[in-house]
């Protein structure tokens, strides 16, 4: 019998230089959630995270293991890193909504260090400075040639969510950009 095991698309890759580290994120449960305003309260309650209703905002659960990222006026990305099952939580909600499991469509790269902002700015046309993109801000945007979701988890820490099949490109891109980060930071 063939041994079928799931391999992380960025398994074994890591970049650590004095200004920035790139780490493939641990596997997580992810949801693409679409809902009209009348279902938001019920979904927030079921998920244990208050779905943000302002652009670029994110919210985390009390334990910190689950986050909801605002992507559009009726669209959120829910990320659960604590081993929970957000899809099952949404299934209990009677209000009309659409929840699609995208845990294996996406993977994430953690960009951390004082050169993190400079590294991302090499490929992202958005202003990522702290005044415009504060801690907790998130946005779907562009990195080089691909679409990503950038989430600022700390002053010098970002989570970059990209499609699994694009993750090699994203990592290569960030790795090259990280070489210049010590100069730019």
């Amino acid at each position: 019998m063939a041994d079928a095991s799931r391999i992380h698309p960025l398994a074994g890759r890591k970049v650590a230089n004095p200004a920035v580290t790139l780490t493939p994120a641990e596997p997580a449960a992810r949801l693409s959630l679409r809902a009209r305003p009348d279902a938001v309260a019920a979904l927030s309650k079921a998920l244990g995270v208050k779905l943000p209703e302002m652009p670029k905002r994110s919210a985390t659960s009390k334990s910190g293991g689950r986050a909801a990222l605002w992507l559009g006026p009726d669209e959120w990305l829910v990320i659960d890193t604590a081993g929970g099952d957000p899809l099952a939580d949404c299934a209990k909600v009677k209000a009309l909504h659409s929840a699609v499991d995208i845990s294996h469509r996406n993977t994430a790269i953690l960009v951390e260090g004082k050169g993190a902002e400079a590294t991302l700015s090499a490929g992202c046309p958005q202003d990522l400075s702290l005044t415009v993109f504060p801690v907790g801000a998130c946005s779907r945007t562009i990195l080089g040639k691909i679409e990503v979701v950038i989430w600022r988890t700390g002053e010098t820490a970002f989570r970059v969510e990209c499609w699994r099949s694009f993750s090699a490109y994203a990592f290569d891109f960030l790795e090259e950009a990280a070489r210049d980060a010590p100069i730019a930071a």
């Binding site: 652009p55 670029k56 992507l71 559009g72 046309p125 779907r140 945007t141 562009i142």
Partner: protein
């Protein structure tokens, strides 16, 4: 790089996140099965393509993914204003920033 104001994100965002989606305020005929080929062609293919002020649909595809409308000057490429889909067509004069 142009900065385009997305009315849903309520922020100026880089043009790379956007995609043009043709002329705005084109109503699909309600009796589409009954109209003649000429009338259909008029609705389907013919666009005004003006020099100067143009009302367009844009999509913030690599952002909030919403469609919205914009008033743009096709000579200077300047965006005069943007507004949410479904809102009434505003009156804007050429060269005027709304």
């Amino acid at each position: 790089m142009l900065l385009i104001h997305c009315p849903y994100c309520d922020e100026d965002r880089p043009e790379l996140e956007f995609r043009n989606a043709g002329e705005a305020h084109i109503a699909r005929p309600e009796n589409i099965a009954e109209i003649s080929d000429e009338e259909f062609a008029q609705f389907f293919f013919i666009r005004t393509n003006p020099k100067g002020l143009i009302y367009e649909r844009w999509r913030h595809i690599h952002g909030c993914a919403r469609f919205f409308n914009a008033v743009r000057d096709s000579v200077s490429d300047k965006f005069l204003m943007t507004y949410k889909a479904g809102e009434k067509r505003p009156t804007v004069k050429a060269g005027e920033k709304a």
